[in-house]
């Protein structure tokens, strides 16, 4: 599960920064059929979390109501230099993660 992250590389201390993530995932609704008529099992990213230097700053619980290749954009206050860690898990139990460094001056 590849992901693309949008994050300013540098920020002022106390600045509210915008964080974006696009995760490659089909978000199968469970209503789609294969060519041979078999039902494609439901498989969506159920939970997603973003930790800033180990502290959770954002969490999302999702359903098939979120479009395929989920895109999420949220905010966080730039406190210290360090790392933002993103992690998610889908219905099939597959886990994904990504991390991005941030420099706070």
């Amino acid at each position: 599960m590849a992901a693309r992250i949008q994050l300013p590389g540098e920020a002022r201390r106390g600045e509210v920064i915008r964080v974006g993530i696009l995760i490659q995932h089909p978000m199968e609704t469970g209503y789609r059929l294969e060519v041979d008529g078999r039902k494609v099992p439901k498989n969506v990213i159920r939970s997603f979390a973003c930790r800033y230097n180990g502290v959770e700053v954002f969490r999302a619980e999702m359903s098939p109501g979120i479009a395929a290749n989920p895109f999420l954009q949220f905010h966080t206050v730039a406190l210290d230099s360090g790392e933002l860690e993103f992690s998610w898990v889908d219905d099939a139990g597959a886990r994904g993660s990504a991390r991005e460094a941030i420099k706070v001056g």
Binding site: R32, R59, I66, A67, F71
Partner: protein, 140 residues
């Protein structure tokens, strides 16, 4: 006796419908919901229900004492009414979230914000979907 219990049940039903929204009850547990402070932005017309842009923002200082605890997105017609729940806190700085949703047909979408003081605020958007996300394939 049977008729009386039926009438009681009926009046309860009528009262319940007036007092709360069955769509929001699973989240609010019957707590009052006020319209305002929340802004849900979605297109009026979506060509394709598989991917509809959505932006929700809540007016809040996002301080330790007064912040948005969660924002819930609720659909009127999707098979799963709770589309997503976003959990935030004072570390978010700003209660604004952008994403893309799936809509199984034209409907009203509700954004429900849960504040740190326990109060609920909401906004809704009506979206007309020309081609809905495929849920009809299996007959509903």
């Amino acid at each position: 006796m049977r008729r009386r219990s039926f009438l009681i049940a009926l009046s309860g039903l009528a009262f319940g419908a007036r007092a709360a929204d069955p769509l929001l009850d699973p989240v609010t547990k019957g707590a009052p919901v006020t319209r305002g402070r929340v802004k849900l932005e979605m297109p009026l017309l979506a060509d394709n229900g598989n991917s509809v842009s959505m932006r929700v923002s809540v007016e809040s200082p996002m301080s330790e004492a007064d912040h948005v605890r969660a924002i819930h997105l609720i659909s009127e017609r999707n098979p799963e009414a709770r589309m997503a729940s976003f959990h935030l806190g004072p570390r978010a700085g700003s209660a604004e979230i952008t994403s893309r949703v799936r809509l199984a047909g034209s409907q009203r979408v509700v954004a429900l914000a849960e504040m740190s003081d326990g109060s609920f605020w909401m906004d809704s958007a009506n979206v007309v979907v020309t081609l809905s996300a495929c849920v009809d394939e299996l007959g509903g």
